[in-house]
């Protein structure tokens, strides 16, 4: 067996380089790998291309910290608060520096990843026809269907260098269970060259193999498994904790100006060594308020012979 467990610090240091294309936030508003994103900021990664359908405040933080040079997204901002201040500053005023934006819809982004997963150059869609997306993102091209001449949008393949996926539980070899809304989790894993997992829990392989339908990616593409309890906060992790809406609100208020954001970043990212310190900083009372009030276990299934 290949034991892929390592600290998140080591996983990011070894498997994400400056200039890489990184898929994050594949499950949409849940299971966003905030812990991994904060590690990218602490290790001062630069020139990243960020791939994500929506990304909530994590993309905003990475842009504000200067890690990102290109953004390939359908939606970028702060889901419960609206606009993302850092994203706006970068797009409108080049602060902290200019970013290139490739506009997608949720479907075209997913189809780009699916094309990347299949290894085909593009997949056709009707999403984007009649819109200005092909004008602002020339990688989306209007084509005539070779079968009937009807207009279609050719969505080009997206193949990230790395997908960072936060999951509920994983084993040491990189088999992971993930539940709740999956968004583009499967496609992002398949399209990427390698996968970094961050997990609420590391469990024995037998636990994962007991329910193979719930596994979200082929373990042989996983290069690192980092134990990161609370690693999706302030986004939710089904079965572990809910969404910390107030934290998104606080971040929104404290990112209005570059100086405010610098202070927020210092407090919540730069001055903390890792996610354990972040969870400690949140405090037991706040953490308690986010954890489950009510367990709802699924019925067991029988994989018997």
């Amino acid at each position: 067996m290949v034991d892929k467990r390592m600290s998140l610090r080591e996983a990011i240091a070894r498997f994400v380089s400056d200039g890489d294309t990184v898929a994050m936030g594949a499950a949409l508003e849940g299971l966003i790998p905030f812990a991994a994103g904060h590690e990218l900021i602490r290790q001062r990664r630069r020139g990243l291309t960020f791939i994500g359908p929506i990304s909530d405040a994590l993309l905003d933080q990475l842009v504000g910290a200067g890690c990102v040079s290109k953004v390939v997204v359908a939606w970028a901002g702060n889901v419960s608060e609206g606009l993302g201040h850092n994203y706006r500053r970068a797009a409108e005023a080049g602060i902290p520096h200019r970013i290139q934006i490739e506009d997608h819809t949720n479907l075209t982004l997913a189809l780009g990843l699916l094309a990347g997963a299949l290894g085909v150059p593009y997949i056709p869609s009707r999403s984007g026809l009649g819109s200005d997306l092909p004008a602002s993102n020339p990688t989306l091209r209007v084509i005539a269907s070779p079968l009937d001449g009807q207009p279609l949008i050719a969505v080009p393949a997206i193949q990230p260098d790395v997908a960072v996926l936060h999951v509920q539980r994983a084993d040491a070899e990189g088999r992971a269970h993930c539940w709740g809304a999956l968004g583009v989790t499967n496609e992002a894993g398949l399209a990427s060259r390698r996968i970094i997992l961050t997990a609420e829990e590391i469990v024995p392989g037998d636990v994962i193999l007991s329910d193979p339908n719930r596994i979200i990616a082929p373990h042989f593409k996983v290069v690192a498994v980092a134990h990161a309890p609370g690693g999706a906060h302030p986004s939710p992790a089904q079965g572990y904790y809910g969404r910390d809406h107030a934290f998104f609100g606080e971040y929104h208020r404290r990112s209005r100006t570059p100086d405010d954001f610098a202070a927020w970043l210092d407090e919540w990212v730069l001055r903390l060594p890792d996610r354990a310190a972040y969870v400690e900083r949140l405090g037991a009372e706040r953490w308690q308020s986010l954890t489950l009030r009510d367990h709802r276990f699924a019925a067991t299934v029988d994989y018997g012979l």
């Binding site: 849940g30 359908p53 994203y87 409108e92 819809t105 984007g128 026809l129 819109s131 602002s136």
Partner: protein, 253 residues
């Protein structure tokens, strides 16, 4: 003064557009409340689709801030991938979808991407998310927006989500299969669209709003439907349900 807010009325007007048994592609914020309200009143058999990968029949008892909040997952009728839900939409299985936006124009085109030139935007808005997909493929879609001249220009500066383009049979010509916008619900009234020209026209006007106010706050000479009627005010039970869902008035106060 009415005893309800414009946002409450918009939610209630939006809920009334849902027909029982429909498959509804639900958006966030006001449409989430509208869908929840419709489920509890006249459309108990409506099903909700959410782009994160959820099909949901059971109503939810608490306010959702995002579609991925745990209460939306628990008890879902299908919890799957974005592509599976979008496949239903793209293939034509969604009867109705809701979207928001920063601007809606004379032909129901919606902008949620850029104010000003997209290469050097004055304001960078969050972008499409699933809005373009909904506007393109749903059987019909409804936009919800605050009514003022800035938000209802004659022509949006960027088409994120296509309405009727330049009118007439534009949608068919560009290859769109979905039906296009059926209504724009605003803080002042409800716009519908002419069956032939596809130009927006004022279909109903909210209680206490003067026609001149609507015209003065619209960025083009707004046509008025021959059957212009007042928007029915919220019924007591509708208001009670909205207020029970949005206890703190986060979306509606």
């Amino acid at each position: 003064m009415p005893d309800y807010t414009p946002q409450e009325l918009m939610v209630i007007a939006a809920a009334r557009e849902v027909r029982d048994g429909e498959v509804v592609f639900v958006g966030m914020r006001l449409p989430l409340l509208a869908f929840a309200l419709a489920k509890r009143t006249h459309a108990p058999n409506a099903a909700g689709l959410f782009e994160n990968g959820i099909l949901r029949d059971r109503p939810i008892d608490e306010l959702l801030m995002t579609m991925s909040d745990p209460p939306n997952v628990s008890g879902a009728s299908w919890c799957t991938s974005l592509l599976n839900v979008m496949a239903l939409l793209h293939r034509g299985s969604a009867d109705l979808g809701f979207i928001g936006g920063a601007e809606v124009d004379r032909f129901g085109n919606v902008n949620s991407s850029y104010v000003g030139n997209s290469r050097a935007p004055r304001v960078k808005l969050p972008g499409s998310g699933g809005a373009c997909d909904i506007a393109s493929h749903a059987g019909r879609f409804i936009a919800i927006i605050e009514h003022d001249r800035r938000r209802l220009p004659e022509r949006v500066s960027y088409v994120t989500s296509p309405g009727y383009g330049s009118g007439g049979d534009w949608r068919r010509r560009v290859g769109l299969r979905g039906g296009g916008p059926s209504a724009v619900i605003t803080t002042l009234g409800v716009l519908g669209f002419d069956a032939e020209t596809k130009e927006a026209e004022l279909r109903s006007i909210h209680p206490g709003v003067a026609l001149d106010d609507v015209r003065a706050n619209t960025g083009w000479p707004l046509r008025v439907s021959g059957s212009l009627a007042p928007t029915p005010p919220p019924a007591r039970d509708e208001l009670e349900i909205v207020r029970a869902l949005d206890k703190d008035g986060i979306w509606t106060r």
